[in-house]
């Protein structure tokens, strides 16, 4: 599994070159001529990163195993859940999205589905009131805001 470090080293080398090239593109600051310009430090970093990634390519460590496909899928689900959480936070409101997100994560981590979503619901409600009443912060109420008027 030595290719882990090799691939990563290669990617970092590309990053170092791109980053270093980026540094040469900075406009000269107004009234320049000081000991150090905006490009000096980044150039130094690009060199350090390039050298250390070259070392990784030449002398990689035996890497750890990547998860099998199934676990990889679980990880992907978790990331999708987190992104969806951010996406839906405003429109659906905090309590509903938290119920869904925490519930799904608990369920995928091995909890029974009903218990998982109940945990999510309780966590959502408790955290919501803790933040809005206890800490006086506003969290989006989303579609539940219709209840507020009544």
């Amino acid at each position: 599994m030595k290719c882990n470090d090799r691939i990563f080293g290669l990617l970092m080398l590309v990053l170092a070159v791109a980053y270093g090239w980026g540094a040469t593109q900075f406009p000269v600051p107004f009234g320049g001529g000081e000991g150090i310009g905006p490009e000096t430090f980044p150039t130094l970093l690009a060199v350090v990163l390039a050298l250390s990634s070259l070392y990784l390519i030449v002398k990689p460590d035996p890497g750890s195993k990547w998860p099998p496909m199934r676990t990889g899928l679980e990880l992907l689900i978790a990331v999708v859940v987190l992104i969806a959480y951010v996406l839906l936070l405003q429109p659906l409101g905090f309590i509903i999205t938290t119920t869904l997100a925490v519930g799904t994560l608990c369920w995928r981590m091995g909890a029974a589905p009903i218990r998982a979503y109940v945990t999510g619901l309780i966590a959502g409600i408790v955290v919501y009131f803790l933040f809005t009443i206890g800490l006086d912060l506003s969290l989006p109420l989303g579609v539940l805001s219709v209840l507020e008027g009544s």
Binding site: G22, G35, P42, Y55, Y85, T98, M109, F131
Partner: protein, 504 residues
């Protein structure tokens, strides 16, 4: 004697009722964080930072709360070592050696109480050491010029991997990545760097988002991968029967452990792992055949705990006096300082004396609180320990999200945090350490500023960076710090492992 005066003022700050209350909350949360599976101290403190902001706490209160969390996490870490033989983090490994056998013999309560007392002694000794050493070091650090500071930052990165670290090249690589992220944004000459025209990047990358993402979210992903969500069965703790004689018998051990721990905490790169390891092995050597180490000797529990806690207070010395943290958790505390607009370093002792001494006094106060909390309330912590991570981690992740969201109210920051989490997972898989990345993010601006000043003074001559005796010493130490782990690291790791296997 002016130190004493400052310290008394510090107590005035720390003992103010609201500060005392937050210290108590912090100590309680900290012990929980330390005890819960999958929540390291750095992680826990990072999640609590946004909360400290949203509460609108003044800087000294926020710092007092989070140092209490820090101290508490060290206390909490031992609970799972003793009861489950699962060390919460590396320094807690040595506590397993005698703690778990004691628990198996039905002396879990005694082991927990002894470790609490040893932790208390270790922290107490180290805090006294901190009080004596920190002002001296701060005064000395005032003589540092920009070139020395630049060398010091390099030293901090070089020794961050610690003596037990694996591949120093990966530490350098991680540091470079962190520093590169720190250059994103508008620099002090007004030049936009690596912003790609994205408005949210103009102010740079917020390191709190990076820290929470890298630590908390990658931790969640690791748990999913290991399918370790099941948790452990409930545990029983017997009734405590501990005589003063037994406490007296561990007293010399805790004294030695605390001093050794403090020294290894202050030294760059040594850290808490080495502190607990040295304390344990030394204790074994001193007592030799008189002890029954590895079979549940109380002194085998006391030594590493005193060492571990001594080291964690000792690690605050370089963080407070030089602004250079030596561990992940102190790096997170540094993040808090910077985001409260307090520049850590020697100037802090003169400019923000009330905060510094308030925090130091809070360490002492927090220590007493922790001892009081830990002996009677240990049952509660043990119960909470059996909450399975499959429920706990998703909730903790959500709290982290809410914390970040409530400071910025921006979805962009949250996406960014998820991205950092995924990156953190991949980097950990590749065995790239995350702490240098955080430190790079934190120290990047200061490092560049000092490089700039040094080069401005010397009119662009780079040799200024290694022209004074002090800076040469710092560079030399940095090189030793990088090379030594390659030589000594494998031996130390093997020994720690061997000690572990002898018992298990």
């Amino acid at each position: 004697m002016e130190t004493l005066g400052y310290l008394i003022d510090g107590f005035g700050v720390a003992l103010a009722p609201h500060n005392l209350m937050f210290a108590l909350i912090g100590a309680f949360l900290g012990t929980l964080i330390g005890a819960l599976p999958g929540l390291g101290p750095a992680n826990g403190v990072a999640i609590l930072i946004p909360l400290a902001f949203t509460l609108g706490l003044p800087p000294e209160t926020a710092l007092i709360m989070l140092t209490s969390v820090y101290a508490g996490a060290m206390y909490g870490g031992r609970i799972s070592s003793i009861l489950l033989n699962i060390p919460g983090d590396e320094p807690a490994m040595m506590t397993c050696l005698d703690g778990y056998p004691m628990a198996q013999k039905g002396k879990a309560a005694e082991a927990l109480a002894i470790s609490a007392i040893a932790s208390f002694m270790g922290s107490l000794i180290a805090t006294i050491g901190l009080i004596l050493l920190a002002p001296l070091l701060a005064k000395f650090a005032l003589t540092f010029g920009p070139a020395e500071y630049f060398a010091l930052f390099v030293l901090a990165f070089a020794t961050l991997g610690g003596i037990t670290g694996k591949n120093p090249v990966k530490t350098i690589l991680a540091a470079a990545i962190g520093l590169m992220i720190a250059t994103v944004g508008i620099d002090n000459t007004g030049t936009q760097r690596y912003t790609f025209g994205v408005l949210e990047l103009y102010e740079g990358v917020d390191f709190i988002i990076a820290i929470v993402g890298l630590f908390a979210i990658s931790e969640l992903m690791f748990f999913i991968e290991d399918r370790a969500g099941g948790g452990k069965g409930p545990m029983k703790v017997n009734k405590l029967t501990l005589s003063w004689k037994e406490i007296g018998s561990i007293f010399p051990t805790t004294l030695r452990g605390g001093v050794l721990g403090f020294i290894s905490g202050v030294l760059p790169g040594a850290g808490a792992s080495l502190g607990s390891f040295i304390s344990y092995t030394l204790e074994k050597k001193i007592l030799g055949s008189k002890g029954h180490f590895g079979e549940g000797d109380p002194r085998g529990v006391a030594a590493p705990e005193a060492g571990n806690n001594g080291a964690s207070s000792g690690a605050l010395v370089p963080m407070l006096t030089l602004g250079v943290p030596g561990s992940g958790t102190t790096a997170v505390l540094l993040a808090l300082l910077i985001s409260m607009n307090i520049t850590p370093g020697p100037m802090m002792f003169t400019q923000n004396a009330d905060i510094v001494w308030g925090v130091i006094a809070a360490l002492l106060v927090g220590n007493f609180l922790l001892l009081l909390l830990n002996i009677p309330l240990v049952g509660i912590f043990v119960k909470l320990l059996s909450v399975p991570p499959k429920y706990l981690l998703p909730i903790v992740t959500m709290v982290a999200f809410v914390g970040i969201y409530s400071i910025s109210n921006s979805a962009f920051d949250l996406y960014f945090m998820v991205a950092f989490g995924v990156a953190g997972y991949i980097l950990r898989k590749l065995e790239i350490p995350l702490v240098p990345i955080i430190l790079g993010l934190l120290l990047g601006p200061e490092m560049e500023k000092n490089l700039g000043h040094a080069l401005t003074i010397s009119d662009g001559d780079w040799s200024v960076l290694w022209s004074s005796g002090l800076s040469i010493t710092l560079w030399a130490l940095a090189i030793i710090g990088l090379v030594l782990p390659v030589v000594v690291g494998p031996i130390l790791r093997r020994r720690m492992k061997a000690a572990q296997e002898n018992v298990g």
